[in-house]
Symmetry: C2
DNA sequence: CTCCGTTGCTGAAAGGTTTCAAGGAGATTG
DNA sequence: CAATCTCCTTGAAACCTTTCAGCAACGGAG
């Protein structure tokens, strides 16, 4: 898989002088003062056209690069937002990120993406790092919504907005989609189709999305008057395609009389893996097993059997979150908000058949 | 799709004091000098256990957060790498990113991800930003490999490693997979299956991956003694699923006698979109149209018709690139390298049939 | 010819950290 | 008891930029 490593050697080591041209050098070269150079950089309208031209020319020829650390240290503010995402490999989150980027760009800010990869330790490390960097604000889809950092950051002045999770501790805004409702809708759909023994595939159970959707599923079951035991839980150790395949293996291995006739997966990656595995083991979808996913990522519709899923307004989620963050850092009488969107069932072949 | 926006208002505006506890305050609280606090932070082994405990306790109770801008300004070095990726929504690049993260983490560095989204302007903006931030190094899969920034950054002291593209201007290392070979292999496979009129789906044509793979395809065609005109180009405006669908629409609309019997797509996203559209328009894959993708992302195997693709060692690509970058910034007699991996054909149903 | 308002430029101070030469306190040796 | 040595700690200088009060020059109004 990873063979021939044909090194095409290339010598010539660049001179490692960070030539260190600073405003001072530019000022000297242009024959003006420090302050003027700074004005060219920050308030060009205060500088006469001829002087500005001289300065810009000097910058150009010296290869001047503004030192952002120094700028930020003195000016006190950063022009950067960060989105700390749960899983960069899940298209759902990259779509959210796109919404964030669009909103940030509009406000003249840049976005750095960080990937916690469902690991609470990494998440904590990144939060520390971002706080130290004094970024203008942090958007996060948390692995661990109870991390103390989620409250200490805002308390110390770094605004935090929680995305795709509702948290109501008064320290930040949050933008979420009603996951309990989503779970309920998904299961109601399966029940309506006549299924009574249904698998819930998801995990790890410390992730809020997983438990909320499960709770919704249970509620739907209860409302339909079915015993709670009819929801068979298959716990996975991550929300990935590979884990979905593993679950498929386990599920297909169940004796027919105990095997569920439908599966509700905590996200589309799991559903796609489950689907793939079940199909390759000879189960027919939806006849032998109906499958419903969650998120409606773009790949859901292109799957072996087009996947029924619960759609969330991904980009809007990100855009809204970024706007709240911007408001928080710009507006002195910002009030924390909890915005909730409503999910939407998208029915395709994997449950309804053709 | 994006309805009910139930704002659950929450007042209580956090006091916006970035309480500004600095080393100075910590020193005062702990009854030691500035220098000692700094030593606790940077060379704890030089500080006696009792003093260290006092200082740490003071930090804790003051909620001290180190100001990274100031640290970096004085110390001159950053502990951050950045990966500027072509498309964060393409799982291929997030897998590369994972490889980078693993290698960086091992070296005690953090990675910020930036998404140029196939936009040369964004790419340039991010490169400027990263240089100003004085990150320790930049990994990039460029939209525009001819951007002057790709040489000015290293010349001024910010190491740059090019990922998934071979560039040989002596200013940086690069790690790539032989895309020409990959294109050749893909097309040879189709030709071997008896196809003679073949579509090449890809674009925009300023992206190197697109042109290299096309060139490989042409070479294979020539080698097989087929006229160049037998490769029908369908140019897309991005390497996305949606664009793939569009290409499918166009392709299916061709009169039967002119319609290719196989399609080679510049990446899997295009191939998945193409596949989905063609299937939904009633074409059988591979009987009416064989399809081959590129990258072998995880979703390729789970597609409506499991997709034949050209696999690249994604994580290894990232890991190798990060290691080269680390060497460049740590090792004074670093020599630029050009590492090339070999792609591998993975045959599935979309070309071979069942 | 003086006064005043504009416009454009200056230069010192400040921001929080790290570094480093130097000093101090105890312990050890002769 | 003096001389050394070790081990810790100290405080000022430096990193590069932005800010801001103030100065100079100029033109127009009276």
């Amino acid at each position: 898989m990873a063979p021939g490593r044909a090194a095409g050697g290339r010598a010539r080591n660049g001179v490692p002088i960070r030539s260190a041209a600073g405003v001072k050098d530019v000022a000297a070269a242009a024959g003006v003062s420090l302050g003027t150079v700074s004005n060219v950089l920050n308030r060009p309208e205060l500088v006469s056209t001829t002087t500005r031209a001289k300065v810009e020319q000097a910058m150009e020829s010296l290869g001047f690069v503004r030192n952002e650390s120094a700028r930020q240290l003195r000016a006190g503010s950063s022009r950067i937002l960060a989105y700390l995402m749960l899983d960069a490999g899940n298209p759902f989150f990259t779509d959210v990120a796109r919404g964030i980027e669009d909103a940030a760009r509009e406000a003249g800010l840049s976005v750095f993406l960080c990937n916690s990869n469902e690991d609470a330790g990494r998440e904590a490390d990144y939060l520390d790092l971002l706080e130290q960097q004094r970024v203008q604000g942090v958007l996060i889809t948390p692995v661990d919504p109870d991390s103390s950092r989620l409250t200490t950051l805002p308390a110390r002045g770094t605004p935090v907005v929680v995305v795709d999770r509702a948290i109501d501790d008064g320290e930040h805004c949050s933008v979420a989609v009603d996951d309990v409702l989503g779970g309920e809708v998904a299961l109601a759909h399966l029940i309506e189709l006549g299924h009574t023994r249904i698998a819930y595939v998801g995990g790890p159970t410390n992730i809020g999305q997983v438990t909320d959707r499960r709770q919704g599923a249970r509620q739907a079951l209860e409302r339909a008057g079915l015993p709670a035991g009819n929801l068979v839980e298959l716990v996975t150790s991550a929300l990935t395609v590979a884990e979905g395949r593993g679950a498929g293996q386990r599920l297909a291995g169940l004796p027919l009389e105990r095997r569920p006739t439908a599966a509700f997966c905590a996200n589309d990656l799991l559903a796609l893996g489950l689907l793939q595995q079940c199909v390759s083991l000879g189960l027919r979808v939806p006849e032998d097993l109906a499958i419903i996913g969650y998120d409606d990522i773009e790949f859901a519709a292109a799957a072996a059997v087009p996947l029924t899923s619960v759609r969330q307004p991904r980009q809007l989620l990100g855009k809204t979150a970024a706007e709240l963050l911007l408001d928080e850092s710009a507006n002195p009488d910002h009030e924390h908000q909890r915005v909730t969107f409503t999910p939407e069932l998208v029915v395709r072949t994997s449950t309804r058949g053709t």
